[in-house]
Symmetry: C2
Subunit: 339 residues, 2 copies
């Protein structure tokens, strides 16, 4: 980190270190007067989030809570349709996701909840951030549950559900199943391709290896890194068609219509039926992230600032607390979507 922070060419640093180190690393980066983008989860506690925000403010640098699906062009476009008012006011939201998060090779810290690991810390931020983006940001209460299904090497819950309610009363439902039995692509007509069916074999074999205690977690992880020799072949969805990913299928219910993702943009339903509205650059899931950082560095308002990231973190922690206490949790650190 020392070399990086003394290089005069480095303006900003993307923090994708283990979650429990985010706070310390952002403080170092801010101390060196560099801007920071921090991957989800922003940190492992609200206190850490607060310290990161303060460190950046004190050093007059930008903090962007990055790595979330709420940057995806389709969700940004959904938010625009809601804002346009053409379907009337928003009334309800639902997100459900089926992924294989738990079956990807993992280092121990990634599945250790005490270090900010596990599916809830690492994946709940996706639907939570998207629901907050679409619902206006201000979640009032959370009733959540988490389930851990036994699997060697994965000592963390991998199944999450929650009912959120926003300040204006809008309800949202969230279901996330990261155990890799079902896949999100099974829930869209264009999802089941020979490439995806065949790609599903890998995770299934990995589950067997985990059960047998023969999984090569470090080696497997190394092979899946960006720039590894497997390259893009690990993306069977690169056929140009969107399929549900980390945030899942997300449906916004408005007074006079519905909105959800289609293969190449959005399905917008209104009194005249279903319309498929194309979105340019849909395949590039990160296309809004760097521009937002750049704008923030130019002191323009940034949606995903530290306070936004902390508010998402509060919802994620509330899901865990609600699950532990079997009770609804009221929130107090929420911030609205900046218009």
């Amino acid at each position: 980190m020392g070399g990086l922070l003394s290089d005069p060419e480095v303006e900003a640093v993307w923090v994708s270190t283990p979650s429990h180190l985010h706070c310390e690393h952002v403080a170092q980066i801010a101390g060196a007067s560099r801007h920071a983008v921090v991957e989800k989860p922003m940190a492992t506690s609200l206190d850490e989030c607060q310290r990161m925000i303060e460190a950046c403010a004190k050093n007059n640098v930008v903090l962007t809570a990055g790595g979330a699906r709420s940057f995806d062009p389709a969700f940004v476009a959904m938010r625009s349709v809601i804002d346009s008012g053409r379907l009337g006011r928003l009334g309800g939201l639902a997100a459900w996701a089926y992924t294989g998060w738990i079956l990807r090779p993992r280092e121990p810290h990634e599945v250790d909840v005490s270090q900010g690991g596990g599916t809830v810390f690492n994946q709940a931020p996706h639907p939570v951030d998207v629901l907050r983006l679409l619902g206006g940001g201000l979640v009032r209460s959370v009733r959540g549950a988490t389930v851990e299904f036994p699997l060697a090497g994965r000592p963390c819950p991998g199944y999450i559900n929650a009912c959120l309610q926003f300040e204006d009363g809008t309800p949202a439902t969230l279901m996330y199943d990261g155990y890799g039995y079902m896949a999100g692509w099974e829930l869209v007509p264009w999802g089941e391709t020979p490439a995806r069916l065949s790609a599903a074999e890998g995770p299934m074999q990995y589950r067997k290896a985990l059960r047998a205690g023969t999984a090569d977690e470090y080696g497997g992880k190394e092979r899946l890194r960006f720039g590894s020799d497997r390259g893009e072949s690990r993306f069977p969805d690169r056929d140009g068609n969107w399929t549900p990913m980390d945030a899942g299928i997300v449906v916004a219910a408005c007074e006079r219509g519905r909105i959800r993702q289609s293969a190449s943009g959005l399905y917008v339903y209104d009194d005249d039926g279903r319309h498929d509205e194309l979105i340019a650059g849909l395949g590039d899931n990160r296309s809004n992230e760097v521009p937002e950082l750049r704008a923030a560095m130019d002191r323009k308002p940034s949606l995903h600032d530290g306070w936004w990231g902390m508010a998402t973190m509060e919802v994620v922690l509330a899901i865990m607390h609600s699950a532990a206490q079997a009770a609804e949790i009221r929130l107090s650190h929420q911030v609205p979507v900046k218009r």
Copy 2:
């Protein structure tokens, strides 16, 4: 009713009168020593349910809480897979439904919540009964929300969501959107056929007629009745493939697999992948209802007895109360699935 109840050939009566008359009608039927099957919703209050149960017990006749999707062969089969233990214990449940309930022709009582009308009373019993069947029956708490989107002639909420928790901790999520913008069949690869796309035109026109105040509710209802001249042409799903209906897509998450409905039976997912397990008689949604009544009349244990129906009613009412109070509701009238 008098003629029906004095006919010596009549052993049992199927009650599909308006919901707020169920209690009175069951009391009459029981008083005439006839068995009764009552359509969902069983009644409009727990007190009515209790009186119906007592009237039948006093007259030594059977009361079956009928009309629910939990009779569907596929859900009965799902329960069997769970019971078999081949996927380990159940850990989570999710149901999400997209229907056009609100766009079918309706008499005024059907959309009047004070008379047991509206989507919550009439449709929530489907996923609730199915989730109770799969989860073992004993719901501990409900956090729900209901949303009413403005539509002339439909003064009732048509959008429902809820997080349930069972006594053993198993969580369940429920989402029901009856406004007919999206359709359940859009969420299965085999769902989108020319017949279904074309059948979607009717409800869409009906929404426009409702908005314009020109809908012929009584005439429309008459045409849709069983035995009307439109006959089976109103069932575009009669291509032999199941598509999500009133209870929606329902996924049971177990320790070592998942279960949900396929086009012709169940998808059972385990460590070896997805298996399509056929179910005979899947198309006949009522094939378990009459046999259960017959068995009950022979004094065999009946799952859908009055206490079962009352327990489902309690969950449905709790969704309404939770929505009104923005608070979680604890339940006290739940009964287990009889084995």
